[in-house]
Symmetry: none
Subunit: 124 residues, 2 copies
């Protein structure tokens, strides 16, 4: 892959979610999320395109670094893993949205009510 060594710490914020690719970690309301390599990369690439629909093939290319074979379900499986961990960390939010026939989109959406946890107190 491109030898573009990212110098300054990139920070991606999506609602109460904070992604720090260069630190190899993400935070939910300041709490550190334990993510594997693949999971973090997938989340990062989605985060870099937050609020936009990213096709599976593109996601696979970005995260796995090669072309996706037809029928490969890896992206779906890792989306699932991310959803579980995000749900676990922030029960009242939904982040990864499916766009049937197109791909996935990352965006913070509160589950309607009880966003009493808005006292994020991130360094913001």
């Amino acid at each position: 892959m491109a030898a573009t060594a990212r110098s300054s710490s990139e920070t991606i914020e999506v609602g109460p979610l904070q992604i720090l690719p260069d630190e190899h970690l993400a935070r939910a309301n300041g709490r550190v999320l334990v993510l594997s390599m693949r999971e973090l990369r997938l989340l990062t690439e989605l985060g870099r395109r937050a609020d936009r629909i990213v096709p599976r093939e593109e996601l696979f290319r970005l995260v796995w670094g090669r072309e996706m074979r037809a029928g490969d379900r890896s992206v779906d499986v890792y989306v699932r893993k991310l959803r579980v961990k995000l749900e676990d960390a922030l029960p009242n939010w939904r982040f990864i949205h499916t766009h049937f026939g197109f791909g996935y989109r990352l965006a913070a959406e509160s589950n309607g009510r009880s966003q009493l946890d808005h006292t994020v107190a991130t360094g913001e």
Copy 2:
């Protein structure tokens, strides 16, 4: 003629409605609308001809890519689906107008009052 230049990221705006065919999505006051392939294409073709009456046969040809068989109600059904989703996202607006015997026309018309719609995520 269809000299539609394939400029990157075409944006169609109709009142508070924003259609981004290349992103595979549309927004209502910035909020993403979840549309299926057909729905988005229909909305797009209507949007490209905003304020003009588009005959069913033409709409069908544009969206389905083939000639419409007599008695086919697909266009009507999908107009209905779009209306429901648009109504859900922007309750005080009407977009798709029927022209009896001719076809449909897309135009933003506020229902007169209180378009201060804070359509907060219902979470329903």
